[in-house]
Symmetry: none
Subunit: 217 residues, 4 copies
Amino acid sequence: MENKREVHASVKDERLVEKRRDQMIRGAVSLFKQKGFHRTTTREIAKAAGFSIGTLYEYIRTKEDVLYLVCDSIYEQVRLELEELDTDEGTVDGLKVGIAHYFQVMDRMQDEVLVMYQEAKSLSKDALPYVLRKELEMVAMVEKLIVRCVETGELELDEHQIHMLAQNVFVQGQMWGFRRWALQKRYSLQEYIDLQVELLFSGITGFEKQRRTGGVV
Amino acid sequence: MENKREVHASVKDERLVEKRRDQMIRGAVSLFKQKGFHRTTTREIAKAAGFSIGTLYEYIRTKEDVLYLVCDSIYEQVRLELEELDTDEGTVDGLKVGIAHYFQVMDRMQDEVLVMYQEAKSLSKDALPYVLRKELEMVAMVEKLIVRCVETGELELDEHQIHMLAQNVFVQGQMWGFRRWALQKRYSLQEYIDLQVELLFSGITGFEKQRRTGGVV
Amino acid sequence: MENKREVHASVKDERLVEKRRDQMIRGAVSLFKQKGFHRTTTREIAKAAGFSIGTLYEYIRTKEDVLYLVCDSIYEQVRLELEELDTDEGTVDGLKVGIAHYFQVMDRMQDEVLVMYQEAKSLSKDALPYVLRKELEMVAMVEKLIVRCVETGELELDEHQIHMLAQNVFVQGQMWGFRRWALQKRYSLQEYIDLQVELLFSGITGFEKQRRTGGVV
Amino acid sequence: MENKREVHASVKDERLVEKRRDQMIRGAVSLFKQKGFHRTTTREIAKAAGFSIGTLYEYIRTKEDVLYLVCDSIYEQVRLELEELDTDEGTVDGLKVGIAHYFQVMDRMQDEVLVMYQEAKSLSKDALPYVLRKELEMVAMVEKLIVRCVETGELELDEHQIHMLAQNVFVQGQMWGFRRWALQKRYSLQEYIDLQVELLFSGITGFEKQRRTGGVV
DNA sequence: CATGAATGAGGCTTCATTCAT
DNA sequence: GATGAATGAAGCCTCATTCAT
């Protein structure tokens, strides 16, 4: 099972390809943030990356390749950050810490995540599946945290509830960035985390118990 | 305070303007669904609307006007649908019914909502505020339902919790459409509603209590 | 059996399409003469045609369409000119007159014919057959002249000889233009015609007889 | 009088230059056959030749140099093959054998000849004369065969007839390749040779006589 | 001598917008 | 009011050529 769609580069030197693509992605993300994929020209991307349009096309085949590489790279970054979150506890407090950590990652990368979700639809039918798979992987990481708590008996949830909760948490992380205009002028990140975890957990372990437990994270 | 950004039309006959814009919006939505705003040409819009490119420009000034009109129209439709949801009960069961209704609306209009959110970012700085205001209005409608339950004493939530819950519910409604590739192959709409309401309310009134209460909607 | 490959035009008005394509072809032929198809830019074609690049693309879809239209048009012109040659005599003298006429046409249109043969190879696999069919039609017109002489008994030739002669005559007509650098500085057109007809007919009716017959055309 | 246009090479080692150019020409001919000069890139040429683009440019100055070298090389090959044809007989049968031989050479090299004639027009004003001169040399070789027959009294032709005949024969040789789509599905090479020689000679020595003489080659 | 990464001019094509009819 | 032909700026991409290693 292929796990990556390879983007063709004319240049052979693998190390150089990596380096140039890095420059490219960095430049592109910053541009896509400002103007979106469609309003950004290939020349602007090349310039932002620090090389000529000709050189850009030594490392990609079409403009869409840039978008794919950007999406791929962002997912990878997020995934790497989230891997740290993978502490094998299986306690409710561990889960809370995990969620808080995830929200923090999504805060730090909100621009990138925004870009990715706004533009991913412009990926061709060819590239979309690879991106969606990454997405699922990430939800699965959240899900695993919950599953452990169920396995250790700390939480009592059926399969559907677990999955739905994972999706909700995942979306709430993105929501912090997507709806920043509504949320971030009202709450600090910490407030947002506390509030969401509270609402979430008062649902899982019971609101009363939650209330007694006090502070969340 | 302006509540609408007027889109200029050369044609004077108001009735005609409305009719033509209706044709235009209908065509544009269908096109934007398929290919997005940027990949849709003005000629295609005119054709889908059933008149010539020249005529199209009698009713708008720029392509972006079409997008604005589309977004505006979709919001209006959603808002109208949601207004029915405004039954003045203030009971938890009424709230549940309200949420279920909202999810059903979002299911029915998922294409339109998808279009709006994917493309709204392409609105100029000029038009964006009008769209965001509509958005807030809608969240407020959900919020009102919750507030009533608090006022009647059926729920005990502070202001922040109320607001956050409203946002969560609102986002979960959109989520059904946005993440259809992940959700809709796993759950039917009714299952989704039940699951979300359950998770939500077991958080609000306590999971144990919820469990005893039984079926959700 | 399709007899033409239609070139798509966005413009509806048939008369206008014809007019614009005429301008286009005229300009393109003149440019192709000078620099060949590949070295001619679409902008140059538009300019030579007397309209903008945008307008050019209202009447064609790709640059290759121009080449196809040019080839098609030249063939058509040649074919029309040759149709006059179709006098139903069936005499050797009539054949000679016909050949002479053909050579004169090829002299008049040598630039166009040159262009066509030099560039036709750049036509896509899609368009080539249409051009080759035209070519065969033209050879057939020459062949018919010979066939008649055989039918009336003025010449005694078998099928293969007839066909080969037709091809030879056809090629000798083109040769006058293709090898102008070698031929036209040595012979006038009339000399060329006389010489070729003489060589040709001394082969058909016998050289001695030819000699007695005297002047050719 | 210069007989060659020198193509500049940075590399000094003459033997190496020759070797590399040989590789280059071989690769280029094969590519030009498939896609023509303009559609072939220098990178492709380098790759087909078996070295890098950088190396390619050590042996030429511009892409056009490749074309010149290719044309030059093909002519040289053809000329060498034709030189064998130069048997000093001066008989009609010798002439027939010579013509047959020439047609066979043109059959064997039809791809190369096709390439050369299709692309030679892309040579700069600078290089063209050298190619045309080669062309004339070759016609002269055919002409010489005829001249000898006239000198020995086997044929009775004036200067113009001789020259024209030589051109005709020369062109008929090329025609076999150029019009292969029309000729080669109808005749075998041998049939083509027989037919052409028959038509040619029945014109020169009289058709009746030819008929009695029987087989041609 | 050989390599191949870098360059950027320039080619083809699209499409939002205008305006004469 | 409606039409659709005309416009040209601007976008994507290619490829001949150079030059540092």
